[in-house]
C-alpha cells in the first residue's frame, strides 16, 4: 500500500469517488472501528506530542493485534513507544520522537530503531505539515525552504531539490502524504462526523482531507442541530469521516484541550518503567494497561479516579479566567 512515494492522482480520485460521502450516521464501537485499519496500511495520527493523541484508537489497534502499520504524525510521544513496542507499527514518519522533553530520550524508540527492527523517517516539522497539506490539496508535492543544506535532507531522497522555474532559487519539494486511514480525536462531533476542535488544531484538518478514511474519536457526540447552529466551529466536514466513536477521555493519559491536561503521575510511572527496561517494561505495561482491561473505561479506572479528576480540573481551568 506504500509502494510509490506519492499516490497517483487518478488513484486518489478513484478511491475518493468510491467512498460513501452521504450525510449518514457513522457511530460505531471502538472495537468495530479497528476494522477500518488493515495490516500494512499507512495510518496518519492527529494531535501532537501529548495533545489530542488518538490514544483510545491506538489502544484498540494494539488489542486487535494489527501488523506492519506505517504511522505518521507531526510529533510523536509515548503513542510512538506503544506503536513500536507492541509490534503493530514498524515504520514511523515524524519530526520528533521521544516521550517528552521532561524525560530525555525514549529508550523504547532507541531500542527498536537502533536494533534495526523499526524505521524512523525524520522530516522537519513543517515538512510533515506540508506533506499532509499537499495530500489534502490533491497535488503531488509542496515547495518549502527548510531542510535544505542539512543531513535531514540527505536521508530523505524522496524529497527533491529543484531550481524554481520563476526565480531560479533552490527549493525543496516534499511529496504528498495521503494516509490510508487517519485517526483523529476531537472534543465533539455529531453522528455524521461534523467535528469541532477546540484550541490547537495541529495538522488535523489537512490530515483529514488527505486520508482515504477518517476514524474520529470524540469526547462526546452532539446533535446535528448543535453543529448547524455554529457551522463556523466545524473544522472537519462529515464527508471526510467514515467512523465516529464516542470515547470520553480518549486521549488519556495525554491531554485534550479544555477537557483534561496530561495525567502526569501515570506518564512518570510509565516512563520510569519502560526506560528502565524498554522490552520487559513495555511488555508489562501493555499487559497491565492495554491487553488487561476489558474496556477503555476499565483502563481509565487503572489510571485512577484521583488522577483523572485532577487532570480534568487542570484541563478545564483554561476557561476559568
Amino acid at each position: 500500500m506504500n509502494e510509490a512515494v506519492v499516490k497517483p492522482y487518478l488513484q486518489l480520485r478513484e478511491e475518493l469517488s468510491r467512498r460513501d460521502r452521504s450525510l449518514r450516521e457513522k457511530v460505531v464501537t471502538l472495537e468495530d472501528a479497528t476494522s477500518f485499519v488493515q495490516d500494512g496500511m499507512s495510518v496518519g495520527l492527529g494531535g501532537s506530542t501529548m495533545s489530542r493523541t488518538p490514544m483510545a484508537m491506538i489502544w484498540a489497534l494494539i488489542r486487535a493485534r494489527k501488523k506492519h502499520l506505517t504511522c505518521s504524525r507531526s510529533i510523536v510521544s509515548t503513542d510512538g513507544d506503544l506503536l513500536l513496542g507492541s509490534g503493530i507499527c514498524d515504520h514511523m514518519i515524524t519530526s520528533w520522537f521521544a516521550q517528552g522533553i521532561l524525560w530525555g530520550l525514549s529508550k523504547v524508540m532507541r531500542h527498536h530503531v537502533e536494533k534495526g527492527g523499526a524505521r524512523y523517517d525524520e522530516w522537519s516539522h513543517m515538512a510533515v505539515g506540508m506533506r499532509f497539506r499537499a495530500g489534502a490539496m490533491g497535488v503531488p508535492f509542496m515547495p518549502i525552504r527548510s531542510m535544505l543544506g542539512s543531513d535531514v535532507l540527505k536521508q530523505r531522497p524522496e524529497a527533491k531539490e529543484i531550481d524554481c522555474p520563476f526565480t531560479g532559487e533552490k527549493l525543496l519539494l516534499v511529496p504528498a502524504l495521503n494516509p490510508d486511514v487517519a485517526l483523529i480525536h476531537v472534543q465533539r462531533c455529531d453522528a455524521y462526523g461534523n467535528a469541532q476542535i477546540d484550541g490547537l488544531q495541529f495538522m488535523d484538518i489537512d490530515l483529514a482531507m488527505a486520508a482515504n478514511r477518517v476514524i474520529l474519536t470524540t469526547e462526546r457526540i452532539v446533535s446535528n442541530d448543535q453543529i448547524r447552529r455554529a457551522p463556523d466551529l466545524t473544522k472537519i466536514p462529515f464527508f471526510c469521516v467514515d467512523a465516529v466513536v464516542e470515547v470520553p477521555y480518549g486521549c488519556a493519559p495525554h491531554e485534550c484541550y479544555g477537557a483534561y491536561e496530561p495525567m502526569m503521575q501515570h506518564m512518570e510511572a510509565y516512563v520510569s518503567q519502560v526506560n528502565g527496561d524498554p522490552v520487559g517494561g513495555l511488555e508489562a505495561y501493555l499487559g497491565r494497561y492495554v491487553y488487561g482491561p476489558k474496556s477503555w473505561t476499565e483502563f481509565l479506572e487503572l489510571i485512577g479516579m484521583d488522577e483523572v479528576l485532577d487532570a480534568t480540573r487542570r484541563g478545564r481551568s483554561i476557561y476559568d479566567d
Partner: protein
C-alpha cells in the same frame, strides 16, 4: 560581587539568553530554557515581546508555575492572541514574520550547526536522538539564539549530523545550500556568550560569564575558539532576573 553559587548553570543560561531579546521582537521559542527565557524577557524588560510556539500559538503569556511540558500543550495558549495550525505557525518563519528563532541544542559545532538526530554514524547510530521537531525549520529560516549546556562532547569541531543548519561549512555555504536568510546570531552557555565572525562564520567568544576564564571555556570546547578583540564580561544575573525566573519556574522544571 560575584557569588558563583548563587544561581544554577541553567539559571544563568536562562537569564543571559533572555537578555539577547529586545522589546517588540517576534520570537519563535522552543520548549525548555528558550520558552522560559522568552517568558522571563517578557516579564522583565520586554513586555511587547511576541512569543510563538510550534504547536500553533501567537503571542503566548505563559503563567508562572504552569510551564507547559511541551510547546504543543494547552498551557502554551494561555492569554495568547491567536491559535493556528502547526504548519501555519511554521510558515510564518518562511514568510519572514519572525525576528528571532530561539532553541536549545544537544550538540553544536564551530559553524553553529546543531545535531539532535544521531550520536555516531547515522546508518549505524550509537544513539538515535529524538530528531529535529521544528528545529530545522526555525534554524533554516530565522536568525537564531541557541541556549545550551557547555561540555566538550557538546561543543565539537564537526557535528555527527546536521539536523538544524547553522553556517554549514562556513563562508557563504549556507546561502549556497539554498538558505539565503537567517543563521546563527548568538549561542549562550553557562560559561560564555558567543557570536559568529563575519567572513568564515566561525564561533567567537563575545563575552565571558562572571567568574569564568578564557582557559576554562577553551578547555570545555572541542575546537579552537576565537576570542573577540573587545572581549566583555557579562553582568551577573540581577536579583530581579533571578526572582522573576524562580517565580516562573518554582519547581525547577527547566532550571534544575
Amino acid at each position: 560581587m560575584i557569588e558563583p553559587h548563587r544561581y544554577t548553570a541553567n539559571e544563568i543560561l536562562t537569564v543571559l539568553s533572555a537578555r539577547q531579546l529586545r522589546d517588540g521582537q517576534v520570537v519563535f521559542a522552543g520548549v525548555g530554557v528558550p520558552l522560559l527565557a522568552a517568558t522571563l524577557a517578557q516579564r522583565t524588560r520586554c513586555p511587547g515581546l511576541t512569543i510563538l510556539f510550534e504547536g500553533g500559538v501567537i503571542g503566548a503569556f505563559v503563567e508562572p508555575g504552569k510551564l507547559p511540558p511541551s510547546t504543543n500543550d494547552q498551557r502554551c495558549t494561555k492569554r495568547a492572541n491567536m491559535v493556528l495550525g502547526s504548519a501555519e505557525v511554521l510558515l510564518l518563519l518562511q514568510r519572514g514574520y519572525v525576528d528571532v528563532g530561539f532553541m536549545g541544542g544537544a550538540q553544536i559545532d564551530q559553524y553553529g550547526n546543531l545535531n539532535s538526530s544521531f550520536i555516531g554514524d547515522s546508518l549505524h547510530p550509537k544513539t538515535r536522538l529524538p530528531g529535529t521537531g521544528g528545529g530545522n525549520d526555525i534554524s533554516s529560516l530565522a536568525n537564531m539564539i541557541v541556549a545550551m549546556k557547555h561540555e566538550k562532547r557538546r561543543f565539537v569541531e564537526h557535528v555527527d549530523f546536521i539536523t538544524s543548519p547553522g553556517f554549514i561549512s562556513g563562508g557563504d555555504s549556507r546561502a549556497q545550500s539554498g538558505l539565503p536568510t537567517g543563521g546563527m546570531f548568538r549561542v549562550v552557555t553557562e560559561l560564555a556568550v558567543f557570536s559568529f565572525e563575519d567572513a568564515e562564520r566561525r564561533m567567537k567568544v563575545a563575552a565571558l560569564n562572571p567568574g569564568v576564564s578564557r582557559d576554562e571555556v577553551q578547555d570545555k570546547t572541542g575546537f579552537e575558539l576565537i576570542f573577540d578583540d573587545d572581549l566583555a564580561v557579562t553582568e551577573p544575573p540581577s536579583e530581579n532576573e533571578l526572582a522573576t525566573l524562580r517565580m516562573l519556574d518554582p519547581e525547577h522544571l527547566f532550571t534544575a
